[in-house]
């Protein structure tokens, strides 16, 4: 939804880590992006390339791990998979669902040199 801001957020985390961990170059970045986070993975990759130009992460490979959406159905009292934030429960068809997983947007780890 706002992948450019998010890509800038990632770059800031990388630059902070580069200062603290004293590395010169980021080779690979692993991101965890939840299926329900509203992030377009392709747009994210595109923006990441754009914002990392002339930075410690120039040319870094971006690996995006998509985490599945999970919701709690209040009718069935159980965790069920969700593919949209307004999805229906696959068991009872109801919409009394609370999202419990799949909204992550995290930098997990880096390969650096």
């Amino acid at each position: 939804m706002h992948e450019m801001s998010l890509a800038e957020g990632v770059l800031q985390l990388l630059e902070d880590a580069a200062r603290q961990q004293k590395f010169e170059k980021v080779i690979t970045v692993w991101l965890e992006i939840g299926q329900l986070s509203g992030v377009e993975v392709e747009a994210m990759a595109f923006c990441f390339d754009a914002v990392t130009r002339d930075s410690v992460a120039q040319g870094a490979r971006l690996e995006i791990v998509v985490l599945p959406g999970v919701g709690w159905c209040m009718e069935c009292s159980q965790s069920v998979p969700m593919s949209e934030v307004f999805g229906e429960c696959p068991h009872c068809g109801g919409f009394q669902m609370q999202v419990t997983g799949g909204t992550e947007m995290r930098v997990k780890e880096l390969e650096v040199a």
């Binding site: 939804m1 450019m4 800038e8 880590a17 509203g38």
Partner: protein, 302 residues
């Protein structure tokens, strides 16, 4: 700053400040560093042993980060929230599409809340027209122009809060940039996001822009005075909102006719009351703690 709106970094101005050049997070304002939540990242990195990750590539190592991409914004937001709670201020982040009637609703609300201190932060890409409309009601208001940016972030709001010299026990309303997409993800330090949907928009907006309706705790269905002239299905709109967010509170109102305004004003008064009493409790418990420590100091050494 989004691909959907084609916005980019830079060009952010808070009224009365010089424009920030370049990226708005890069400059070193004092309050960033004293932030309690911006801890030194000490926990993030295990001293990972150097190892070769891929054949043929040497001298590379793995670094654990495990940090949320929005953690910078969230740290600023936590700081704002702390400042606001120390002052007993009830803060709302008002979000909607352009033209839902946010500014008119705000002006009317301020007038009806006469006697309650209200301050407003206005976010728009350009112009300070909205802040001027608010100031005409007598309430202090400050405009943030996000330039090409499509949402307010907690850092800009922190600056605006400093400029506003907020009164203790006041109500702070942040009118976000008219956009039902990006502001959903950015915590500003508010108590609640309030989404405003007007009956001249489609009933299905909650499922078209589900992130926003899920992030909000209150939905104001505005311009209900126009319902007799429209083919608008109120229960469908509320149904769609509840489908995305089963717990969302819905208030139907019209800033123009005044219908439903009492329920909204009561929600605001209740929020201010709670913020003020929470502050009072905190102050009382701190005073009790000080008294306890002083008593300990005066006790003769055993």
């Amino acid at each position: 700053m989004c691909t959907t709106c084609g916005c980019g970094p830079g060009d952010v101005t808070v009224e009365g400040e010089h424009p920030h050049h370049g990226h708005q997070h890069d400059h070193g304002h004092g309050h960033v560093h004293e932030h309690a939540h911006e801890h030194g990242h000490g926990h993030q990195h295990s001293a990972a042993p150097e190892h070769s990750h891929a054949p043929g590539v040497s001298n590379t190592r793995m670094v654990q980060i495990e940090q949320d991409i929005l953690s910078k914004n969230n740290a600023y937001a936590a700081h704002n929230r702390q400042v606001l709670s120390e002052q007993g201020i009830f803060t709302l982040n008002l979000v909607s599409s352009p033209g839902s009637g946010k500014t008119t609703l705000l002006c009317k609300t301020i007038t009806l809340l006469a006697g309650q201190a209200v301050a407003v932060i206005e976010g728009d890409q350009q112009t300070s027209q909205d802040a001027e409309r608010i100031r005409a009601t007598g309430a202090p208001a400050i405009q943030i122009n996000t330039g090409k940016g499509c949402h307010l972030d907690a850092h800009m709001v922190g600056h605006a809060m400093e400029k506003l010299h907020l009164q203790d026990g006041s109500l702070l309303m942040i009118e976000n940039v008219g956009n039902l997409v990006c502001p959903a993800a950015f915590d500003l330090g508010e108590a609640h996001k309030v989404v405003i949907l007007s009956v001249t928009e489609g009933e299905d907006k909650p499922i078209k822009y589900p992130d926003m309706f899920r992030a909000a705790s209150v939905m104001l269905l505005n311009k209900v005075d126009l319902l007799p002239h429209l083919n608008y299905d109120v229960s469908a709109a509320i149904g769609f909102a509840r489908r995305v967010n089963p717990n969302i509170r819905v208030i139907q109102l019209s800033a123009t006719s005044g219908e439903g305004m009492q329920e909204w004003l009561e929600f605001l008064r209740e929020g201010v009351r709670k913020a003020v009493s929470l502050r009072r409790e905190t102050v009382a418990s701190l005073q009790a703690r000080i008294a306890q420590l002083e008593a300990q100091l005066q006790r003769p050494m055993a």
